[in-house]
Subunit: 183 residues, 3 copies
């Protein structure tokens, strides 16, 4: 679906660079643990957030872990606002990345060790936005890219990226996740 | 996330009462059947609603039961309207409770006996609301609280509570649920 | 929930015809392969669409396949627009049918043979619409009807049909699906 025409030279150079970077990093994703990879990316996982209500951050059933919808709750701030009105796609991308870090924090809290992850199975990525906003995939990529960065092939998931008219506390993004883990 | 400052004496008293009530009831949730608990709560389950379309109220796959999105269809009325415009959070809470009762009715229709429930795994709680509405968790709590009332620890689930711009027939809340059941 | 009053003679005749047609076709769904049935319906499956982002069209975990949200991407066009503003329910129904065909294409790509389908488990049907639109079930029926046409009883699924304020690229409908497949 990505056509080649219309790309600027800059885009082409960036792409080439990314591909080389990708090739170089490829083998490392298979030998490094997820925790090492997270450290290398300079990311620190939070503990599971205390849910606001009578529920829990994650439930395991058989080999599947179902994670609650998480918001972009960082160390010192929460990203709020609607895409297409208050936030740019880039800001939304960063918010989705924060969500993914929070999801991994809750997952680690439940299973103890992220190397027990067999596969990131599915994301439902919900973007708080204006009715005219159409770039939900570009926002949720912030989470998808991080998961692939951390888990490599095992991080490649099924996904929906959709627009919501409202989210709790006006958070910018909410994502729920299903993960397959080892016995 | 709940801070202690700013609580009125009344709130503190209520909380203390609730905790004692909770402790007193705790063991009973483990010895009582879900059906007995429902009766004690004065709740009667409806039969599975006839779906409006070419689908079914619930499908079992392995030990998981996936339930269709249910609306707040009570004995003699359907709760319609948008939160933040037509309904208060309290009315939304009651609507979500009605949805949970309907979900349990459909679940019982499929598995025969609610004591076969091993774990309420996940809810996706969708609130019909105004774009400025932010209290989706307070609405979906109506369902979460009931499930924990009925099933105790086994009722604690993962959850998303989000805002929708529109729902079928303008129902106030729609919830879908995943449940783990015995072999 | 469908009342009898208000039906025109034409509707009654159509219904009777449909029921007879249904009875006549009933046994055939059990002896025919899904692929034969698709051919008979004059439908051709596309290959899995290249996802726009760092994710995949479908992931299998155990006997469940989780499919990404798919849009109404037909051979030569994409159905865009909001229900209740730009599109009629009939146009939405057709869009949902195109989505279902795309989902089956991605499923076949992953599992090789649609006769390995044991059960269509669940759809989350998301309709891009105006806040006043209430006929999401009539739209998502386009997907549900096709799945039951192709798989018969095995095609009967749990489902949610809900309204979204915005979808990627302004597509009219997005549907994600869970399917149980053979070992």
């Amino acid at each position: 679906m990505k056509a080649n025409y219309g790309r600027t030279l800059l885009q082409k150079v960036r792409e080439k660079y990314w591909k080389e970077e990708h090739r170089r990093n490829h083998w490392r994703r298979y030998v490094m643990s997820a925790d090492t990879r997270l450290k290398e990316l300079g990311l620190e996982l939070p503990s599971a957030a205390a849910p606001v209500g009578n529920y829990v951050p994650a439930v395991r059933s058989g080999n599947l872990v179902f994670l609650s919808g998480h918001g972009p709750v960082g160390k010192d701030r929460v990203v709020t606002g609607k895409l297409g009105v208050d936030l740019t796609v880039e800001e939304g991308y960063e918010a989705a990345k924060i969500v993914a870090i929070g999801l991994l924090g809750s997952l680690k809290d439940l299973i103890g060790d992220l190397d027990k992850v067999r596969r990131i199975v599915k994301l439902l990525g919900m973007v708080n936005c204006d009715p005219a906003f159409m770039e939900q995939p570009g926002v949720i990529d912030g989470a998808s890219d991080l998961l692939v960065e951390v888990f490599g092939e095992k991080g490649k998931h099924a996904r929906s990226a959709v627009g919501m008219n409202a989210l709790p506390f006006n958070i910018a993004v909410e994502i729920e996740m299903i993960v397959e883990v080892e016995d």
